[in-house]
Structures are given as structure tokens and as C-alpha cells.
Symmetry: C2
DNA sequence: CACCCGCATTTTGTATTCAGAATGCATAGT
DNA sequence: ACTATGCATTCTGAATACAAAATGCGGGTG
């Protein structure tokens, strides 16, 4: 077995994203590099490299002499991000191989139908949602597009733990995913793209109420 | 006057992009950090920070233990990048304020009509093209989208100096810009978006012949 | 002659150190 | 009493030092 060797900065980035997803960092708070580095058991150098990467993805902001802080959240930015992701996912879906889409459509439908626990925490719901969209775009040949999407979605992660899982919205999300899968089963790619856009817009509206 | 204070990593990033545009770095070649740092008169630390930023934008690649290299070019990646930029610029145009678009339409038309020197070097042509697209999107309220676009376009920069300026393609580009501006003058936003997409696709095809 | 192993060199990855800017508090002056 | 100024502290930004991995070369061996 080939053992993996990854730069510290990448491991640190992943760990920080993990903690961010767990809600350990409040938006708007400063990063104390020395403290965080000690906590992670690394030096400031690779930590700063990870912070710079995250700043490039919009997760952090930086200002001269004042270091990094977790980017604050706003309705405006959330709307901007959703518009971007909707456009990029649409493009990814449009450029996917129709045959592949037909092949995965049943699995997409199945995943959408097996309803998550009504009381599942938002982390579980979000993870399943990510998996579903990941499968949906698994046939996209545009690797740069997928990388870009991953970066933009990282910038959206801090919005996810603002909401608590509720019964009705999860059902809506599930229904919308079914709709997309059904379109794909029928080889209706334009319809699937429209449904995907509607899914993002709908998800955005469900979320907006929870953002200050 | 408030004097500007920018981190070294940003100045280095800009300088590297400048040199890249001037064709000083061949795609596929390795970066020697010590040499480059000495050349720029800085230490390796902020240089590496700049390199990491550029790697995030796709200008560089990095592999464990082997450092950074300028990303090689390929027809496949160029097509991917054009598809992305076309989609993002379309979104930016669609979300712009129609009134603002109407206001800048005459200027867009004027810029498109004043034909660049037939013998202008590609750098000049590219710069004018960038300015035109910048003005076109100047009314887009989605700041995250504009930032994202800037990053993706940075990743495309290394393709620009692969082509030499030619008479006919520049005229085509100019005509396509006129078409877009005219649509905006007539308040035909969907038509302008279609023309913008066509402009990117056309520009891509003109460029593809020059890529190995 | 080809191939492989081991050592020396080069270069990256990470840690540590140093310098300079920002922040906050205390004190003096009005 | 309030403001402004100077100083101490804290933290970031950059440079340097150190460790470890990769590369290249030379000698030895099949």
C-alpha cells in the first residue's frame, strides 16, 4: 500500500474546515496564530499557509497588521454564493455525459427517497446533501470546474451550521432531489438543470430566515 | 494622503503575474524558491505565501517534496476555463442593473469600435480586452462573483501570450463586442448574454489553434 | 555494459527567531 | 473630568535556521 504524504498546510486546512463545520469558530472572530498553532501542535508557518489558502476561498479575511479573522456572515453574501454555486453546478450538469447521468439516475432517486431521520442533526443532513450533489456531478469531465465548486462551497460551509434541522424543509429538499432525478431518468437534461437551479433557490430561501 | 500598506505576499503575487504575462515563465517549468526569492529581493517566506495563493488559482501546481511548477497548458484545460468564465460572466451580466448597463452601453460601443493598431502586440490587445470586459461587468453587485472571476482569469493568463496578434481575429473580437453593446443599447439583456457567450466560444476557437 | 546501491548535494518543508505594527493602559496636562 | 501622549504588551509579518526529502552522480557488481 502506498502511504500518503501530504503537506502539513493541507492537513491543517482540512482540520480547520472540520472544526469550522463543527461550529467551533464563530464568524467575525479573530484568529490568534500562536494559540491556534499550539493547539494544533504545529508551528505558525504551515498554519499561516493554511490560513492564506482559506482566505483565498473566502472562509477568512485578512487585513494588514491585524491578521486573519473568520469572515462574518450576511444575507447579501449568502445570496451571492448561492447564485454562483447554482450557475456552476448547472454548467457541470449540462456538460456531463448524458449516458452517465441516465446510469446514476436510479441511485440519485434512491438516495433522495430514503428520508433522513426527522431528528437528524444538521451535520448529518448537510453531509448527505453534499454526497447527493457529489454523485450528481460525478460525471462532469471539467475538473477545473469541480475544483472551483469545491472552493466556493468551502466558503459556504460556515452558513450551514446556522440552521437547525427541521422537518418540513428536509422533506422539501428531498422532494426537489427526486424531481431532478426523475428528469434525468427521462433524459430531460434541460428540465433537470431548471430543477437544480430551483433547488438552490429554494434552499437559499429556506436558509435566509436563519441568517441575522 | 493615506499611504498604502500592502503585505509583501500580495506585491509578490502581482509581480509574478506581471512577469507571467510578459512570458518570462514557461509553462511546466519548476520554481526554484531560493533563486526567485533572491531575484525579487525578499525571503522565501512571503514568496511561498504568494506561490500558495497562485496555486489556489491554478497558475501553479505543487507536489509534495517537489515544490511548485508553472502549470502546463492544454487544450482540454483551456476549454474548461473558457466554459467557466463564460458561465460566470453571463451570470454577472444577468445580475447587473439594467439601467446601469444602458448607461455604459455607448462607452462600450465606442471602445469596441476604436480598432486597436493592427500591429499591436498581444499584450496591448489583451489589456484592452480586459478593460472592456471589466467595464461590461462594472455594474455587477455580486462582489464574490467578481473576485472569483478575477481568480479564474488569472489562471487563464498564461494562455494569452501563446498567440500572436493577428488582423482578422482582432476584427472579429471587435465586431462581437459591438454586437453585445448594441444589444445592451436596445435593452435586450438576454440577447447580450447570448452574444457574450458566443464571444467567449469564438475567442476560444480562435485561440485553440495556437495551443499545442 | 547495464543496473543498482549508497553517498553527497540541492531543494523543499517546517520551526524558530527577529523586527515592526497595533492595541490598551496609565499618566500628565488642560 | 476629559483628552492626549507615551509606554508596555501583544501579535503579526518577515527573515533566518534547521530538518528531511528528493535528485544526481559515482562506484561497485552481476
Amino acid at each position: 500500500m502506498a502511504i500518503k504524504r501530504r503537506p502539513l498546510r493541507e492537513q491543517i486546512r482540512d482540520e480547520l474546515m472540520e472544526r469550522l463545520t463543527r461550529g467551533e469558530f464563530a464568524p467575525g472572530t479573530d484568529v490568534n496564530e500562536a494559540v491556534l498553532a499550539a493547539e494544533l501542535g504545529v508551528s505558525r508557518t504551515p498554519l499561516r499557509e493554511a490560513l492564506i489558502t482559506l482566505a483565498g476561498e473566502g472562509v477568512l479575511e485578512s487585513s494588514q497588521g491585524r491578521g486573519f479573522r473568520f469572515a462574518p456572515v450576511s444575507r447579501k453574501e449568502f445570496r451571492e454564493l448561492v447564485a454562483i454555486v447554482a450557475a456552476l453546478e448547472s454548467l457541470a450538469l449540462e456538460s456531463s455525459d448524458p449516458a452517465h447521468l441516465r446510469k446514476i439516475a436510479p441511485e440519485l432517486l434512491g438516495m433522495a427517497q430514503e428520508f433522513p431521520d426527522p431528528v437528524a442533526d444538521h451535520a448529518t443532513v448537510d453531509r448527505r446533501d453534499d454526497e447527493w450533489h457529489g454523485l450528481l456531478l460525478s460525471g462532469c469531465p471539467n475538473q477545473r470546474l469541480l475544483d472551483l465548486l469545491a472552493g466556493v462551497k468551502a466558503g459556504m460551509r460556515r452558513y450551514e451550521n446556522l440552521v437547525v434541522a427541521e422537518d418540513e424543509p428536509v422533506a422539501r429538499e428531498s422532494e426537489e432531489h427526486c424531481e431532478i432525478a426523475r428528469r434525468l431518468l427521462e433524459d430531460d437534461l434541460p428540465g433537470a438543470v431548471r430543477a437544480l437551479r430551483a433547488n438552490w433557490v429554494g434552499g437559499m430561501e429556506r436558509m435566509l430566515a436563519h441568517i441575522p
